[in-house]
């Protein structure tokens, strides 16, 4: 279809941007934008908290045996009527400490997010490089596949993969495999952007003198691609990846919300929200509120970082 009109986020970033990334100019710009610094801090904080969840969390919310049902519906910072236990952010219907659940839930969300982005990026970059460098029928084939893929929005591809998964994998393995299927599903649905961007950059780089020169002196194609072309397309890729991370996190929570993601006994942020939604009217607002807030903060901060990165890497938008 419209191969010549990449999305706006990708059009903006110029070549050779990675080199400029660590430039003091960029760092300077970063420090000058308080919102960006704040976003970075929030992402960092959630990241560390999620990584250290087993150490920080007072409870392992994924192990049903550690839950005490009588602790259920404890209000934040208030003693439970039956057990007298106090939980910072309260507990959910099963007596699961929400603070721990959010830490572990963010862990799932972030793991799925990062892994899916990495998967999509590697796949997309590889295909984009090959398509752009080889050209001809290889290029046509890859880009047509990308077109077909694009006709299916991420959520649909992911749901479809899940449908197939449920039909093929025996139910006993569903819980264990769910997270990998999520990564696969989200990753597979998102590689096209990378491929398109990398391809167009590669097309442009391919005819540059330095590449021509390398080719003439007999440098093998993979080396040219990895050493010379890849670094030059990393800027736009970084922007796509950052925004892709936010999208992946949201997609994961959406799938879990739709009930096809991770099982409710190992809740991610989306699952917590799905379950908590049932208690919105009965006054147990905290069950949906805190996971929702965490998800929003995380996605928003990552988006803000991506936004800033795109502007920063695009000199035309600099003031």
């Amino acid at each position: 279809m419209s191969t010549e009109s990449p999305t706006p986020t990708t059009a903006a970033a110029p070549r050779g941007a990675l080199a400029r990334l660590l430039d003091s100019d960029l760092l300077h710009g970063f420090l000058r934008s308080p919102i960006t610094v704040l976003s970075a801090l929030i992402v960092l904080a959630i990241l560390i908290a999620a990584l250290l969840a087993p150490v920080i969390a007072p409870q392992n919310p994924f192990d049903p045996a550690t839950l005490n049902l009588m602790d259920g519906f404890s209000r934040p910072m208030q003693a439970n009527a039956f057990t007298g236990n106090v939980y910072w952010l309260g507990t959910d219907a099963q007596g699961r400490d929400l603070f721990s659940a959010i830490l572990y839930g963010s862990r799932v969300s972030l793991l799925v997010g990062f892994a899916a982005v990495a998967f999509a990026a590697v796949l997309g970059i590889a295909l984009g490089l090959i398509a752009g460098y080889r050209g001809g029928w290889v290029d046509s084939l890859i880009m047509r596949i990308a077109d077909v893929q694009l006709s299916f929005p991420a959520i649909l591809v992911a749901l479809l993969i899940f449908g197939v998964f449920k039909g093929v994998v025996p139910p006993a393995l569903h819980d264990k495999a769910a997270i990998y299927v999520l990564i696969l599903a989200i990753g597979l649905s998102d590689w096209v952007q990378y491929a398109r961007t990398v391809r167009s950059s590669t097309l442009a780089e391919r005819n540059k003198e330095y590449v021509q020169a390398a080719r003439v002196i007999g440098v093998p194609a993979p080396t040219i691609l990895l050493r010379h072309i890849l670094p030059n397309v990393m800027g736009p890729v970084l922007v796509i990846a950052t925004i892709g991370l936010a999208l992946a996190i949201i997609l994961e929570s959406t799938l879990s919300f739709l009930g096809v993601g991770v099982p409710p006994t190992q809740p991610s942020l989306g699952t917590l929200i799905r379950v908590g939604q049932d208690y919105l009217f009965s006054g147990e607002w905290w069950i949906v509120f805190f996971p929702g807030l965490t998800l929003l903060l995380l996605a928003l901060s990552v988006n803000l970082l991506g936004d800033w990165l795109r502007d920063a890497l695009d000199p035309r938008l600099r003031r």
């Binding site: 279809m1 419209s2 191969t3 010549e4 009109s5 999305t7 706006p8 903006a12 047509r144 077109d147 077909v148 694009l150 006709s151 299916f152 929005p153 959520i155 649909l156 749901l159 479809l160 899940f162 449908g163 197939v164 449920k166 039909g167 093929v168 936010a246 949201i250 929570s253 959406t254 919300f257 739709l258 009930g259 096809v260 989306g270 929200i273 939604q277 919105l280 009217f281 949906v288 929702g292 998800l295 929003l296 996605a299 928003l300 990552v302 988006n303 803000l304 936004d307 035309r316 938008l317």
Partner: protein
């Protein structure tokens, strides 16, 4: 131009065939169709007879051909779960989804362009900054959370709008519409907002970025230098030039609106194809999944064709450029 259109058509057919292949693969290889159609008590002879009558013993390419021919006639077999022809079920549900998608799509387009232009022209105004920040929040807030929030505020607390369903619908025989009744229109408000918000922010940010880009070009500077009024420059020249990518993206987004309708329809119990699909996934109802897949691809391909045609209308230069480049 005819050559270009022809090429596009051919490409579309190719896309549809690929999708049909995936869909056929689902249908044929995931979950034994025979097992799904007869109970486990069925004897081997009954199974064999059914295999025969379904043509499952023919070579796979023959089966695929039959699948494509049937699909082209809207024939997708029988839903495992509802035991009704899939085409009937989809035909019943499609109006609900299309109405929702079109309303929220056009709403997002109109509002998105307006806000995009505004924020581009008043780049440093406080309102622009507020809109831009809000739009990021909108993008970061998952659709389902927005839906839940709206239900809580407008249905439960304020009791202004219905919390679920399509309200009263009028049956026109070949179409059911909720647009002709008050309850139908009221029911449409929250789902349409929920569904359109993401596209709205997307279009708005796109229009803004493109506008800023165009406003920097020499051509605009030249137009200003010629002494044209701001209004003429902004709307006659700048906006016109930003429309091209906007059309592309919006076209692409309509496909995703229909897919995102899955979430909205789940939250609001909107009886459309999205809700049908998500139940099909939960029940591993392969015929419904396969048909939905083909349907979405078809909608996407058709929209893309329309978008390509619109290119010619909006930007005459492209006619020469495109056909010349042979892309």
């Amino acid at each position: 131009m005819p050559a270009f259109i022809l090429r596009r058509l051919l490409q579309s057919v190719l896309v549809m065939l690929t999708v049909a292949l995936v869909s056929f693969g689902l249908f044929r290889f995931i979950g034994d169709p025979v097992n799904n159609m007869v109970g486990q008590e069925a004897t081997m002879a009954e199974r064999a007879a059914l295999r025969e009558s379904l043509g499952l013993d023919d070579p796979v390419p023959v089966q695929f051909l039959r699948f494509v021919v049937n699909a082209a006639q809207g024939e997708f077999g029988v839903s495992y779960r509802m035991a009704r022809p899939v085409a009937d079920v989809i035909a019943e549900r499609l109006p609900a989804t299309l109405e929702l998608a079109l309303i929220s799509g056009f709403g997002a387009l109109a509002l998105g362009i307006a806000l995009g232009v505004y924020t581009a022209l008043r780049r440093d105004g406080w309102l622009s900054h507020a809109i831009m920040s809000l739009s990021l929040v909108g993008v970061s807030l998952p659709t389902f959370l927005i839906g839940i929030l709206l239900i809580y505020v407008f249905a439960v607390e304020l009791k202004l709008l219905p919390a679920f369903g399509r309200g009263e619908v009028v049956d026109l025989g070949w179409w059911t519409t909720g647009l002709l009744t008050t309850s139908g229109l009221k029911s449409l408000v929250m789902p349409a907002i929920t569904l359109g918000l993401y596209q709205l922010t997307l279009i708005m940010r796109l229009v803004r970025a493109e506008m800023l880009e165009v406003l920097r070009t020499d051509y605009i500077k030249f137009a200003r230098a010629r002494g044209l009024t701001d209004r003429t420059v902004h709307f006659g020249h700048a906006l016109r030039n930003t429309l091209l990518p906007v059309i592309t993206i919006t076209g692409l987004q309509i496909g995703s609106i229909i897919a995102f309708a899955i979430i909205t329809e789940t939250v609001f119990q909107w009886p459309g194809v999205g809700l049908l699909f998500i139940t099909a996934v939960q029940f591993v109802d392969i015929p419904v999944m396969a048909a939905y897949l083909v349907l979405i691809a078809l909608i996407f391909v058709v929209i893309n064709l329309i978008v390509d045609l619109l290119y010619f209308v909006v930007d005459p230069r492209l006619r020469v450029q495109r056909t010349g480049r042979g892309q």
